[in-house]
């Protein structure tokens, strides 16, 4: 037992250090929170998995019907449309649900925040971990689909974990902003799903970037999710990686992660008093 440690409690006005060492010290709690979320979600194993897989499956069917029967896409996709759209939906859903869950995580954990101390960063971080597990399960859908359409992934498939990590970084960064803002401005939680819904159609998720007319390309360039989605698909299907887009995504992810974490730490002192 570390008995020589002295804890100093005093007001810490303004910006605070991130103190990631303390988050690390609480890594077991981080894991146990994620484990709790998953355990509760998959308590009824079949239903949990059905839910996680059913949702992207239905979206994939709808978009396939829409784009292959009703409105023909002007540009072809590198792989058959159902696989193409499934990959896009999976990575998008992961990022979007991670942002939403991390964003609402503090409000859901209000009862803990007012009763027990632990680094508050643990809460949004653990929610992203459980989303990652959901993504891994839903991602299994890609295997039979790729087999069915005879797509053999190239060596770049090894890069997909990195792209998922990039999506996670971006989602955590934005999620931290949303979580901290949510405590002060409760109507953020109403706005976020709406913003994400629009963002999904602005991002090349259900259509390829090449389908976007030249003069609208800047929208895609300015959107850090473009690189994540296009990059994920490129790595999966072995097409050339969109390097510029990936750089933009990486820069945005680092930016949101840093500013989000600092803003979160700054607002942290208010959580217990407000929630």
């Amino acid at each position: 037992m570390d008995s020589t440690r002295t804890l100093v409690i005093e007001p810490t006005p303004g910006w605070r250090a991130l103190d990631l060492r303390e988050v690390w010290a609480y890594r077991e709690l981080l894991i146990i929170f994620a484990w709790r979320d998953l355990k509760v979600r998959y308590r009824q194993t079949l239903l949990g998995a059905l839910w996680v897989m059913g949702q992207p499956l239905v979206s994939m069917l709808i978009f396939t019907l829409l784009f292959s029967r009703v409105a023909k896409l002007p540009v072809g996709t590198s792989v058959p449309y159902p696989v193409f759209v499934m990959a896009g939906i999976l990575i998008w859903n992961f990022a979007s649900s991670a942002v939403q869950k991390a964003g609402n995580s503090l409000i859901g954990a209000g009862y803990l925040i007012s009763k027990v101390y632990f680094p508050r960063l643990v809460i949004p971080l653990s929610s992203v971990i459980s989303d990652l597990a959901d993504f891994a399960i839903a991602g299994l859908l890609l295997i039979p689909m790729m087999l069915w359409y005879g797509i053999t992934p190239g060596p770049t498939v090894l890069l997909t974990p990195l792209l998922v990590a990039l999506a996670a970084m971006l989602a955590i960064g934005i999620g931290l902003w949303v979580a901290a803002l949510n405590v002060e401005y409760r109507d953020i939680r109403v706005v976020i799903p709406w913003v994400l819904q629009i963002a999904m159609y602005v991002t090349p998720v259900v259509y390829p970037l090449s389908a976007l007319p030249e003069r609208y390309r800047w929208i895609a360039l300015a959107n850090p999710m473009t690189g994540v989605v296009e990059g994920f698909r490129a790595a999966l299907f072995g097409t050339p990686l969109p390097q510029l887009l990936l750089l933009i995504s990486l820069a945005a992810a680092v930016f949101f992660l840093l500013t989000g974490a600092f803003y979160f730490r700054r607002m942290e002192r208010l959580f217990a008093d407000v929630l």
Partner: protein, 421 residues
């Protein structure tokens, strides 16, 4: 190293009421405010703690007592690092664990076994520590048969026992405990107290908040009496408890002669209010749940008032009205002569759940139309669990359960479609 486990220097905590608590800010409000420079409800500041200084030697078991709102829980929350102080600082030497509630974070869908690990981790135990103590925790809780049952199926007694069992195996050097022993049956409470005693005797430093003066006296060698956010007395438990009891009697009367928050013409004014037992023989500083009591209002009339009506209401801590009563509505009006006097009203078994409440008082010269004296929010009244069934009250008081207890009876499940012909 100093021999003090906890040193508190000039600790203060300010809360802003009205800003965050009652109506939280929305982005919409903020945006709207940019166009119309409309001031929101003025913010009030409350100092929950004011310049608190304390030195707690290593191995001491210290009791914190005081009325609701005296700052005990705020002090504990700051020492637990749940909320930050506004001024001052505190130094804690050694590993700290705090127990502000038993079963924090218990998940109803998870089994007893799973909740032991979850709750243990939340309280700051490592997995290795939980593993090591697992058998002891299970034995203490007496729920071994139901370890693999989700806790939502537990009785509240089982739930509390399991929750306390986990907490009882915390082994920090400094343990901060808020009113957590007021749950479970008497036998279990005794065992919990015994366990706390062991912890205190094993050289750990314990800071213990309780309304139960009995357990404070048994557990703590020294005590602190807090009042309005400051330390009033710090000394041997016996002396502090005696001082607290002496003071309690006086505070049963809320003196309003200098009350500034009144409105109305003031032809007659309410100068004080007291709570009494139903028979009117005893002053109360708190109301036991479900028991009848009396409210006595003292007035001072500047002129003659005929057909006046007294009224009062019980408010939640945040100011929501729970009930009101007004004499003229019940067909009773009073003729006041210049000078002072008093009037009493008996409230028959109000089923207001345990908690802290405030009073709203008024005196109408034209009943139903105009109050000549109106005091929007006065004093602090505590409803205690009293002697009602401990189990149901424990559930009632915790969380957002509303304010009123209503006796309900649930029926049997009936199967089959629709309604019977």
């Amino acid at each position: 190293m100093s021999s003090n486990a906890v040193v508190v220097e000039g600790l203060s905590k300010r809360y802003r009421i009205g800003a965050a608590h009652t109506d939280y800010t929305t982005l919409r409000d903020r945006l709207a405010g940019m166009f119309r420079r409309m001031g929101r409800a003025e913010k009030r500041e409350i100092w929950a703690l004011r310049d608190v200084n304390l030195e707690i030697p290593q191995g001491e078991a210290l009791g914190l007592i005081g009325h609701n709102g005296a700052g005990k829980s705020t002090l504990l929350k700051i020492l637990s690092r749940i909320t930050e102080p506004t001024e001052g600082r505190a130094l804690l030497h050694g590993r700290v664990a705090s127990l502000l509630e038993v079963g924090t974070g218990f998940h109803p869908e998870l089994t007893g076994r799973e909740n032991i690990f979850l709750n243990g981790a939340i309280l700051g135990m490592t997995r290795a520590e939980i593993r090591k103590n697992f058998d002891a925790i299970v034995a203490f809780s007496e729920v071994e048969k139901f370890l693999d049952t989700p806790v939502k199926h537990y009785s509240s007694g089982m739930y509390v026992r399991l929750a306390f069992a986990v907490a009882a195996h915390l082994t920090p050097e400094i343990l901060l405990v808020d009113e957590v022993l007021a749950v479970g049956d008497i036998e279990f409470q005794r065992r919990c107290l015994g366990r706390m005693n062991e912890v205190a005797r094993s050289g750990r430093t314990v800071v213990f908040v309780s309304h139960n003066l009995d357990s404070i006296e048994r557990l703590c060698t020294k005590a602190v009496l807090m009042r309005r956010g400051t330390v009033e007395i710090f000394g041997p438990t016996r002396d502090v408890v005696a001082a607290y009891l002496a003071r309690t009697e006086r505070s049963a009367i809320i003196d309003l002669t200098a009350f500034s928050g009144r409105s109305g013409e003031g032809r007659a004014q309410i100068m004080g209010v007291e709570l009494l037992s139903a028979d009117g023989q005893q002053l109360l500083d708190s109301i036991p749940f479900g028991e009848s009591f009396r409210v006595r209002m003292h007035y001072e009339a500047k002129e003659r008032l005929s057909g006046a009506s007294f009224g009062f209401g019980l408010l939640s801590e945040k100011g929501a009205r729970i009930f009101i009563t007004e004499s003229f509505e019940l067909g009773i009006t009073y003729d006041l002569e210049p000078g002072t006097g008093k009037v009493e009203c008996e409230i028959h078994s109000p089923n207001v759940v345990p908690g802290v409440y405030r009073l709203e008082l008024w005196l109408s010269d034209i009943p139903g139309v105009r109050a000549t004296d109106h005091l929007a929010s006065v004093g602090e009244i505590e409803v205690t669990p009293g002697e009602a069934d401990v189990r149901s009250i424990a559930t009632l008081a915790s969380g957002v359960r509303g304010f009123v207890y209503v006796d309900c009876a649930w029926g049997e499940l009936s199967k089959g479609p629709g309604r019977q012909p």
